[in-house]
C-alpha cells in the first residue's frame, strides 16, 4: 500500500471506529472523549520516552500550562474557545522552546527529576503564588464565558466529541507522518546511539530540542482540551502523581509507536475505570500491571496486536511469493 495513503487511512479508520462506538455505547460518550484527550497527552510523553528515550516525571506541568493558558484567556480576556485552545498550544510551544536548551543537555535521571521539580514548582505557582488570578484550590470556572463558534457549537458535549475527534484525527495524521519522516527516524536513531548520530553530522541537540517542543505542545493541547471539556481548571491537574500515570499508559500501549499511545490511554483509563468500581486502591493494580508489562510484554498492547497481525499478513504474503519486502 502507498505510504501516504497509509498515513491517512490508519487514523481515519481509528476515528471512524471511535465515532461508531460513540453511537453503540452512547452512555460512554464522555469516556471516549476523555480517552481521545488523554491519548494526546500520552502521545506527548511517547515522543520523549518512546522515541527519544528520556523519562520525564513532570509531564503534568506542560499539561497544566495549556490548561491554565486557555482557562485564564477564557475567564478574563476573550470568549472564543478555539482561540483559547490555540493559545494553549502556543503556551506549550513557548515553554518547550525556552526550557528546552536548559533541560535537554541533562541526561537520564536528572532530566526526569528536574521535570518533577518543575512540576512541583508549577503546582505551587498556580496554587499559591497566582492565587489572585487562578483562585487557588477552588479552581477557575469559565463555562459561562465560552461563546458560540460559527460552525460547531462546542459547548454541547455531543459537538465537543466531534471537535475532539477532528483534532485527534489531524494530530494522528501528523504523528504518523512524523513517524515515517526523517525526523522520526532521527529520534529513534538518537535513542539507539547518540554519539554515532553526531558523528554522522546530525545536530543531535536540535533534534532533541524539536522533540521536546513537540512533546510539550502535545501535552498542552491535551491540557487545554481538558479545560474546555470540564469548564474549569484547578491546580490538581498538574500534580506529580499524574506523571506516573502517563508513564504507565505509555508503556502499556507500546512505546515508540504511532497507535501505542491510543491503546495505552484506552487500556489505562479502562483498567482504572473498572478497578475503581471494585477497589479504591488503584496504585497496587497499576504497579503490578507495569511490572508485568515491563518484564513480559515490553512492546505493549499495540506491539502485541501488530505481532499477531504481522503473522497473518506474512502468511498471506508468503503465499503470494512477495516475501522480504521491508515494512514500516
Amino acid at each position: 500500500m502507498n505510504k501516504k495513503v497509509k498515513t491517512v487511512l490508519g487514523p481515519f479508520i481509528l476515528v471512524v471506529l471511535l465515532s461508531i462506538s460513540r453511537y453503540l455505547f452512547s452512555s460512554k460518550m464522555t469516556f471516549i472523549t476523555e480517552i481521545a484527550i488523554y491519548s494526546l497527552f500520552v502521545m506527548g510523553n511517547n515522543i520523549l520516552y518512546g522515541y527519544l528515550g528520556m523519562v520525564s516525571f513532570g509531564q503534568p506541568f506542560y499539561l497544566s500550562i495549556g490548561a491554565w493558558t486557555s482557562a485564564i484567556f477564557l475567564a478574563y480576556i476573550g470568549h472564543n474557545p478555539i482561540l483559547a485552545m490555540l493559545l494553549g498550544i502556543a503556551g506549550g510551544v513557548i515553554t518547550g522552546f525556552v526550557l528546552g536548551p536548559f533541560f535537554i543537555r541533562l541526561r537520564g535521571d536528572y532530566f526526569a527529576l528536574i521535570n518533577a521539580a518543575l512540576c512541583a514548582i508549577g503546582v505551587f505557582v498556580f496554587q499559591k503564588l497566582l492565587i489572585g488570578i487562578t483562585r487557588g484550590e477552588d479552581g477557575l470556572w469559565f463555562r459561562t464565558q465560552m461563546s458560540r463558534v460559527r460552525l460547531l457549537d462546542i459547548r454541547l458535549p455531543n459537538n465537543f466529541f466531534f471537535f475532539v475527534m477532528i483534532i485527534f484525527f489531524i494530530v494522528l495524521v501528523l504523528y504518523s507522518h512524523m513517524n515515517n519522516s526523517v525526523l522520526g527516524s532521527s529520534f529513534k536513531a538518537l535513542k539507539v546511539n547518540e554519539r554515532k548520530m553526531r558523528f554522522l553530522g546530525f545536530d543531535t541537540f536540535r533534534i532533541r530540542w524539536i522533540g521536546f517542543i513537540l512533546a510539550s505542545a502535545l501535552s498542552s493541547l491535551s491540557g487545554s482540551l481538558y479545560a474546555l471539556n470540564l469548564g474549569f481548571v484547578n491546580p490538581s491537574l498538574g500534580e506529580t502523581h499524574r506523571a506516573a500515570e502517563v508513564l504507565v499508559a505509555t508503556l502499556l500501549g507500546g512505546s515508540g509507536t504511532v497507535y501505542g499511545p491510543f491503546f495505552g490511554a484506552l487500556g489505562f483509563l479502562g483498567i482504572k475505570d473498572l478497578v475503581s468500581r471494585w477497589v479504591t486502591r488503584w496504585e497496587l493494580v497499576v504497579g503490578v500491571i507495569t511490572l508485568i508489562v515491563m518484564f513480559r510484554f515490553s512492546k505493549g498492547i499495540w506491539g502485541g496486536i501488530r505481532k499477531v497481525s504481522l503473522k497473518i499478513y506474512d502468511r498471506d504474503e508468503r503465499s503470494a511469493g512477495r516475501c522480504g519486502r521491508q515494512r514500516s
Binding site: 528536574i114 521539580a117 512541583a120 497496587l284 504497579g287 511490572l291
Partner: protein, 293 residues
C-alpha cells in the same frame, strides 16, 4: 525576627536534615554501587513509619517500634533485592527507574490495603524540652539529628575501615574487576541494600511522631530525598550529609519566612543546582555513572 525564632528554626532544620539523610542514604548507595535509581526506598520509609505507629499504639514502647520498623524494612529490602532488583542490574537506567517506581506504587497499594487511607497519629515518645540560650527546644528533634550523625559515622567506618568496605568501594569503581577477583559482588549488593533499607525504615520510624503517618507520605519524601542526593552529588555519602544539612536549614528558614516556602524551597534549590552544576556539590566528573557530564 528575634533570637527565639532563629534557634527554633535551627533545631527544626537539624531534625529535618537528620530525616533527609537517613532516607536518602539508600538512594545514594543505590546510585553509587548498584547504578540503579531505586525509587522504592520510600516504601521502606513508609513501612517503617507505619510499623512505629502499630507498635507504639499497641505496646506503648517507642524503642520497640523503632526495632520493628528497622527489622520489617530490612526484610522487605531482602525480598525486593533478591527477587526483583537482581534481574534488572544489567538493564539501562530508564528501565530500572520505571521498575522501582512501580514497586513503589505497589508498596503504597499494600500499605493502603493493610492500614487504610486515613492518616494516623503517632504518640510523641518524649516531651522533654531543653534550654538553649533562654529558648526551649524539644530534645527529640535534636536526638533525630544525633542518630543521623551516628549512622553517618557508622557507614563511613564500614566503608573505610573494614575489608568489606574496601570491596564495596572497589565495586563502585568497577564491579566486573571485583567479580573477577573472586568476590561475590551480588552478596555485597544484597548486604548494602539491606543496610540501606533498614536505615530508611529507621528514618521513617523516627520521623513518624512529628508528622501524620499516611500512605502518601512517601511521595513528597521521594522528591526531597532525590533533591538531597543530587545536590550532594551521586554516590557520595559525605555529599549526601552536607546537602541534607543545607536542605534542612533551607526548609526550616523558608517555613519561618513564609509557610508555603518550606515545601517549595528545596525544589527551587534543586532546579538551580541542576541547571548550574549538574554533578552536585561532591559529585565526580566522568562517565562513572553513565553520564557524560
Amino acid at each position: 525576627m528575634n533570637l527565639n525564632l532563629w534557634i527554633t528554626s535551627l533545631v527544626y532544620g537539624l531534625s529535618m536534615s537528620g530525616v533527609l539523610f537517613l532516607v536518602s542514604v539508600g538512594i545514594s548507595i543505590g546510585f553509587g554501587l548498584m547504578r540503579i535509581v531505586n525509587m522504592e526506598q520510600m516504601v521502606y520509609y513508609t513501612f517503617g513509619a507505619y510499623m512505629a505507629y502499630t507498635i507504639v499504639t499497641s505496646t506503648g514502647s517507642f524503642l520497640l517500634g523503632i526495632i520493628a520498623a528497622v527489622a520489617v524494612a530490612a526484610a522487605l529490602g531482602i525480598i525486593v533485592e533478591t527477587q526483583l532488583l537482581r534481574r534488572v542490574y544489567s538493564r539501562e537506567m530508564m528501565f530500572t527507574m520505571v521498575v522501582t517506581f512501580s514497586v513503589f506504587l505497589i508498596g503504597i497499594g499494600i500499605i493502603q490495603y493493610i492500614w487504610g487511607l486515613d492518616p494516623k497519629p503517632v504518640a510523641s515518645p518524649m516531651e522533654t524540652m531543653i534550654r538553649i540560650v533562654r529558648v526551649k527546644v524539644p530534645l527529640y528533634r535534636l536526638l533525630i539529628f544525633a542518630v543521623a550523625i551516628l549512622v553517618y559515622i557508622g557507614i563511613q567506618l564500614l566503608l573505610n575501615r573494614t575489608i568489606m568496605g574496601k570491596a564495596i568501594r572497589a565495586g563502585i569503581e568497577n564491579p566486573n574487576n571485583v567479580q573477577g577477583l573472586g568476590i561475590n559482588i551480588y552478596k555485597i549488593f544484597t548486604i548494602m541494600f539491606v543496610i540501606a533499607s533498614g536505615i530508611a525504615g529507621l528514618g521513617g520510624a523516627l520521623y513518624a511522631p512529628l508528622i501524620m503517618v499516611g500512605p502518601y507520605m512517601g511521595w513528597d519524601m521521594l522528591l526531597f530525598a532525590f533533591i538531597t542526593v543530587i545536590l550532594g552529588g551521586l554516590g557520595s555519602i559525605k555529599g549526601t550529609m552536607v546537602s541534607a544539612l543545607i536542605l534542612g536549614q533551607v526548609m526550616a528558614l523558608g517555613g519561618t519566612l513564609w509557610a508555603p516556602l518550606a515545601y517549595i524551597a528545596p525544589f527551587i534549590v534543586m532546579f538551580l543546582v541542576i541547571l548550574v552544576k549538574p554533578t552536585g556539590l561532591f559529585g565526580v566528573r566522568g562517565t562513572a555513572f553513565g553520564f557524560e557530564s
